[in-house]
Amino acid sequence: MGRTFVGMPPFPTAARTALADTRLRHNLAHATGTIRAKRATVVAEVEDWEDLRGQAAAVKDATLARLDEHLLTLEASLTARGATVHWARDAAEACAVVAEVARTHGVDEVVKVKSMATQEIGLNDALAAQGIAAWETDLAELIVQLGDDLPSHILVPAIHRGRAEVRDIFRTRMAAAGRPAPTDLTDDPAELAGAARLHLREKFLRARMAVSGANFAVAETGTLVVVESEGNGRMCLTLPEVLVSVVGLEKVVPTFADLDLFLRLLPRSSTGERMNPYTSTWSGVTPGDGPQEVHVVLLDNGRTRALADPVGRPTLRCIRCSACLNVCPVYERVGGHAYGSVYPGPIGAVLNPMLRGVGTDPVTDSLPYASTLCGACGDVCPVAIDLPGLLVHERIRVVDAHRADPRPKPEALAMRAAAWALGDARRMSLAERASGLAGRAWRGRGMPGGRRALSWLPFPGSRWTGARDLPVPPAESFRAWWRRTGRDEGTGR
């Protein structure tokens, strides 16, 4: 069994650990900085980028508004083209379908195209439990798998690893999984890719069954689309006899023409390329060409829960480009593991609570707070998801879910107290007089600008003063000044 996110601490604790990992900080700052710059350059080339975002959002919204119909159309088109459609309510049902297909064909290994949906449902572990090995064939996903690690990014699951670490993983772990890495392997990227290519080729040629996800599923034609950069997807989708694709319900687009829009937005947003190297499309079974048995598992796993929330629904527009991760200043500093999910970053902070529900799991409840609400994510999202707005929405849901708790959290009590103190100008003025008096008595060091510094406060104030000074409260509040002198016309000193 590989490592899982189960049992990880809530975000603030996990983030603290991550922040202290200097190699992680360095790798992430370098990788996200590079991809951010690439994206900015290629997006700036598209004059009507904002228009495209608006159109894509509109297509997704219209599709989601009638998702049931589009899904039935998709099922009919797929079936007509010789694919078998399965509906899975949750992870267990989806994994069971894949395992059953594998058993029917008597295979003990499958090759996998990188797929978020199969990571989400923990497919590899579920298959392993049945004695079926699932080989990841995407380079970054292979690095994660060989390192018995967890993905930390939607697009580049091994973004937290540097070249030297990748070399070590290949040298020490590849042999147990198949063809070993050359003993003189260096950390030259071309050499590393070469080692992975040879290691994987053996698996591509041997495997009789493949598992994929899909970036898009076209309802009218029953076409699934996989967008990738390495050609490993193309190998998986064409060589094996049996292909199972696990597809989230929200991946459906109504028509083939709709793809045009999304295939323009996705590569520029995700890898910062004008066009991705490999786009594979397939519609059911083509006799004598490619897999002769094609299954499609349509996965709910909480998506209908998100669909039912009119405010949260736009989250399902997400095309998993990862642009929001790359610009997120929080993600850049802590990486993906701190989010305790295969969906990290701003989208993960919104999507996980939506898929899993809030109010029961402290890890999930901590995620919407893993953001300063700076809004950088919302600005880059190619399908114009209002991520900062949705982060607030999820926070509201978390708080509401805990309103009936028999013992309210200290934060809830503090918020109630603050709302009371601020609820009336007289009360606020009294509080200001008290803090002003306390401030006058304080003999702190002077700060630049003349105020004196509070450099130490007891918990929970220590959460602030641990690293930051705070000016002592002013002797006179603004409202007191206004009463004393400001009201009078003049310069109002």
């Binding site: 975000f11 603030p12 983030a15 200043p329 929080v330 802590v334 919407p368 707070y369 893993a370 953001s371 300063t372 609400l373 700076c374 809004g375 950088a376 919302g378 900062p388 707005g389 607030v392 926070r395 509201i396 849901r397 708080v399 509401d400 309103r403 934060e411 809830a412 918020m415 603050a418 709302a419 601020l422 609820g423 100008a425 606020m428 200001e432 700060m447 630049p448 600008g449 003349g450 450099s455 959460r463 602030w464 641990g466 690293a467 930051r468 000074d469 705070l470 000016p471 409260p473 002013p474 509040s477 603004f478 409202r479 000044w481 206004w482 400001g486 016309e489 310069t491 109002g492 000193r493």
Partner: protein, 249 residues
Amino acid sequence: MRVAVMATCLGDAMFPEAPRATVRLLRRLGVEVEVPEAQTCCGQPMVNTGYLDEAVPLVRRTVEAFEGFDAVVVPSGSCAGSVRHQHRLVAERAGDPAVADGVARLVPRAHELSELLVDVLGVTDVGASFPHRVTYHPTCHSLRMLRVGDRPLRLLREVRGIDLVELPRADECCGFGGTFAVKNAEVSVAMGADKARHVRETGAEVLVAGDASCLMHVGGLLSRQRAGVRTMHLAEVLASTADDPAGRA
């Protein structure tokens, strides 16, 4: 034109220099300034932490306090953003048409300071003088919620004697984030440390921004580092003149 100043709770209780400077500046520009004394807090800290019920009385009070003025000036990008983009949500929760109507009347009249100056009053040269080396941090909510664009910079460029230096990676968040600063204090400080580093790289003597909250965070770090950089609100710089320079107590 009667303009009401929304001091914001932080400006009122902790950083009175900012609303005071706003009053001075607007009076110098010939504006009739009022400070409704019933005002307290716009409710942003509650909304942004998810406490919508708790924000209801604060939003109610805010809309009542600012009823009837031609314009409301907010020397804070995030509080102006809260009024414009979040008060409707709170009004919905309140389920009270009076609050909803009040919000609908307040939203179009609420302007962040640089918006009021540039868009409503039509000035960029406010006659200020501030002979210091300054760098400007554009704060996320001004930038991405209100989209004030380069208005603050246009105002600053006209200030006499100012030596305005560009802040590297200016549009990146400083890490304050309201309750984020204590709920995720370590990440907040990590972000703030990078912002403080960029500020120091400019060699500026003063860091200017349109939000006292972000300045409290970055300024707190700079002070702890003994960096020799002070923070000032945009209003203070714009209110400063040769005869009445900013920085006086």
